[in-house]
Symmetry: C2
Subunit: 374 residues, 2 copies
C-alpha cells in the first residue's frame, strides 16, 4: 500500500476545524487593538503571520513550532553512538530549523524579524544534562537568529512531566517583526502573467517528518540507510540538513525596490501551499527542478506516489515568490546574491473562479478544494 | 518525610544552567537590532519580559508556558465523569491561565500586551475531537485576551506524536507589548523605605502544580478531597480557579501617573521572587495575609513545612508592586478599583550588600543565595 500523510497519523481535518474555531474567536478580539493605537488590517487572519497596523508601520507576530524533526535527530544520535559513544548530534541544525520555521512564516507578509524567542519544553530536566546536545541547541538557536538578522529575545524552558515524553523536547518559539515603511507589506496583489520564482530548500526542512519517521522504522538500516541517487549521505543526515532561512532574500528585494506581490513558505500541504492566496489563480509550474535525491529515495522507500509526494513534501522548494514578469530576472539575481539557488519556475494564470496548481511536465494537478486550511 | 519541590522531580539546577547558557548566547545577538532601528536596553536580560528600545518607545516580547496545570484539569474531568459522563471541564479556566502566565510576565516591565498568540501542541489530533473541551479552550483564550486588553494574534496547533503524550496538550504562547511613552517603563529603581503592595492571587495560579499533583496522587479521594478550612471547594476546584490577570492594575497606575518602581509576578520560587531585582535590598513583609484555605490544605496534606510553602507557592499573593511610600495608598486604591484585593504588605530596607525576604510574623527569612535564577 502506498503511504500517505493521513495514514501516518496526522489528521489535518480535526486540526483544521480547531484552527478555524480559533480564528473565529480571535477575530472577536480585534477591537482591543484600538486603545493601543493599532488596528487589524483586512485579510491578515489566516496568513502565516498576524499583522497589526499603526499610522506608519505594521507589527507582525508569529508563533510556530518545529514539529517532530527532533525525534529524527534523537534517533540518529542513538544510532551513531548516543551521548556516551560520541554519536553525531544534530541539535545545532535542529535549533536552526526551529528559528527557520518561525521567521520564514514571518517574512511572508514582508515583515523582517526583530526578535525571536525560544520555547523548549522537556518532560524531564535531565534532558539538559547532556552538555553536547544542550550546547548545540543553544549555539544553533543563536546562529539561526544571526541568519535571520534578529535578536534572540529570551524564551521559556519548562519541565512538563507526564505531558512531554522523557528524553524528548518540544521546540517552538515566536517572533516579532516590523514592516516600515508600510508599502513594503506583501499583500497578495498577484496578477495574471506574474512570474513564479522558486528558491531551493535544503531537504524536507521541517515538513513531512512524521511520514519520514514511519519510513525509517520500516527500513532495515533505518536512518543509516544510504539515500543513493548520487548523494552519499545517509537518510538521517539528509533529513537533518538545517532549513534554509529566506529572510535575507525578502530583505534584499526590499532594498532593491523589487516588489514581491506574494510569497509562499512551502511547508505542510506540500506544493498545494503555492495556492495559499485566497483570490483564485491557476499556478502553472513549468520548471519544477528534478526532485533531489532525498525525495527520490522517499518516493521509492515509502513507496509514495508522485501525487502524494508533491501533496506532502516541498520537493526541493522552500520558498516561492510571485512577481511582475519584468522584474523576474532581477528577483532571481537578488536571491542568488544571497546565496540561494533560485530560478523562474512558472507563471500565474487566471481562469475565472478556478484555483489550482498545475505541473504539466509531471502530469499533476491539484485543484483548490484540496487545500482547506489558510 | 516533608515534601519539597525538588523531591517532586523538578530540578531547577539543570534548568537554570541551561537558561544561563541561553542568556549568554542570546546576548551575542544584540547587535542585530541596530539595522531595525532598535537597541537592547541595559538590564533587560533575565527580566520577565525582553525589551527592545527605539527613539520613542519600547517593544516587549514574552514567550511563556502554562506548565502542567492542564493535567489537573484532565484528572478532574475524568474524576467527575469525563467527556462521556458530563464531567466538569475546566479548559476555559486553563486557557485564561495560559494567557495570564504570558501577560503577567509582560506587564512587569510596564509594557501593555497588544497581541497574544497561542501555542497548543497535542500528541494526537484526536484531542480536538472532544468539542466541549476544545470549545472551552477557544473561549477561554479569547476571554483571557479580553481581560488582558490584547488581541488574539494567531497561533500554532501542531500534532507532536511521540513527543507529547496522547491525551494531553502543551499550552503556551507569546505576547508583543509596547511601552509608550518610554518613561512608563518599570526599571527597578527601588529605594529604601519603598512600600510593598500585594495583590491577591486566586489560588496556586500556575505555580507548584507538579507538587500538587503528587499530593493528589496520595489522597484517597484525590482531587475530590474537600479542602476545608472554611472553603467548600474540592482540591481540584480550588486548584483550577483561573489565574488573576494584573494588566489592568498596571494600566490603571499608568493612567493615574502612579509610578511603579518595580513589580514582581509571583510564580516559580514562591516568595523568593520578591527579591528578583538584581540590586540588593531586604524586603520585610509585615502583613503577609493569612494563607488561604487551599494553602493550609496543601501544607497539611503534603505535609509541607512553612518554609517550603513560601519557598514554592504564591501563598495567596500573585503580584507585588514596590512604590514610594507617599503614593502607596493611591496604588492600593488603583488596584481595588480594578477589582483586585490589595494592601500594603511591607517595606523595602537597605542593609548594604544583603539581599533577603523576611517575614517576621512567620519567623521566615530567605537570603539572596536561595534565588539563583533571574
Amino acid at each position: 500500500m502506498s503511504l500517505s500523510y493521513e495514514s501516518s497519523g496526522v489528521s489535518y481535518d480535526q486540526l483544521d476545524a480547531f484552527k478555524r474555531a480559533c480564528q473565529r474567536a480571535a477575530r472577536t478580539t480585534a477591537g482591543l487593538l484600538a486603545p493601543h493605537g493599532y488596528a487589524e488590517p483586512a485579510a491578515t487572519r489566516g496568513e502565516s503571520a498576524y499583522l497589526i497596523e499603526a499610522a506608519d508601520h505594521f507589527l507582525a507576530h508569529v508563533e510556530e513550532g518545529l514539529g517532530t524533526k527532533n525525534l529524527v535527530a534523537d534517533a540518529y544520535y542513538e544510532a551513531t553512538g548516543g551521548a556516551k559513544g560520541g554519536g553525531k548530534c544534530f541539535y545545532r541544525e535542529i535549533a536552526i530549523d526551529t528559528v527557520a520555521t518561525i521567521v520564514n512564516d514571518l517574512v511572508t507578509c514582508g515583515a523582517l524579524p526583530i526578535s525571536v524567542a525560544m520555547h523548549a519544553a522537556v518532560g524531564d530536566s535531565a534532558w539538559f544534562a547532556d552538555e553536547v546536545r544542550a550546547s548545540a541547541l543553544v549555539e544553533g538557536f543563536a546562529e539561526g537568529c544571526r541568519r535571520a538578522g534578529a535578536v534572540w529575545g529570551g524564551g521559556e524552558t519548562p519541565t512538563l512531566r507526564d505531558i512531554v515524553n522523557p528524553g524528548t523536547i518540544v521546540l517552538a518559539g515566536s517572533a516579532i517583526g516590523k514592516i516600515s515603511p508600510k508599502n513594503l507589506r506583501i499583500t497578495g496583489d498577484v496578477r495574471e502573467g506574474d512570474a513564479i520564482i522558486f528558491l531551493a530548500s535544503s531537504g524536507v526542512q521541517t515538513n513531512g517528518l512524521t511520514l519520514c519517521r514511519k519510513i525509517a522504522s520500516r527500513l532495515p538500516q533505518g536512518y543509516l540507510t544510504p539515500i543513493g541517487h548520487g548523494d552519499a549521505r545517509t537518510f538521517g543526515e539528509a533529513l537533518l540538513a538545517p532549513s534554509v532561512i529566506y529572510v535575507d532574500f525578502v530583505r534584499a528585494c526590499q532594498q532593491r525596490s523589487l516588489k514581491l506581490n506574494y510569497v509562499a513558505h512551502v511547508t505542510g500541504h506540500g506544493w498545494r501551499k503555492l495556492m495559499r492566496l485566497e483570490e483564485p489563480f491557476v499556478y502553472e509550474i513549468t520548471a519544477p527542478r528534478p526532485a533531489p535525491a532525498l525525495f527520490q529515495f522517499l518516493a521509492e522507500a515509502g513507496p509514495i506516489s508522485l501525487r502524494e509526494m508533491y501533496n506532502t513534501f516541498n520537493q526541493g522548494i522552500g520558498f516561492a515568490a510571485y512577481v511582475a514578469p519584468g522584474i523576474a530576472g532581477a528577483v532571481v539575481a537578488a536571491a542568488r546574491d544571497c546565496g540561494h539557488d533560485a530560478w523562474i519556475a512558472g507563471r500565474v494564470k487566471k481562469e475565472g473562479p478556478r484555483k489550482a496548481v498545475e505541473i504539466p511536465s509531471l502530469g499533476l494537478v491539484y485543484e483548490g478544494d484540496t487545500l482547506q486550511v489558510r
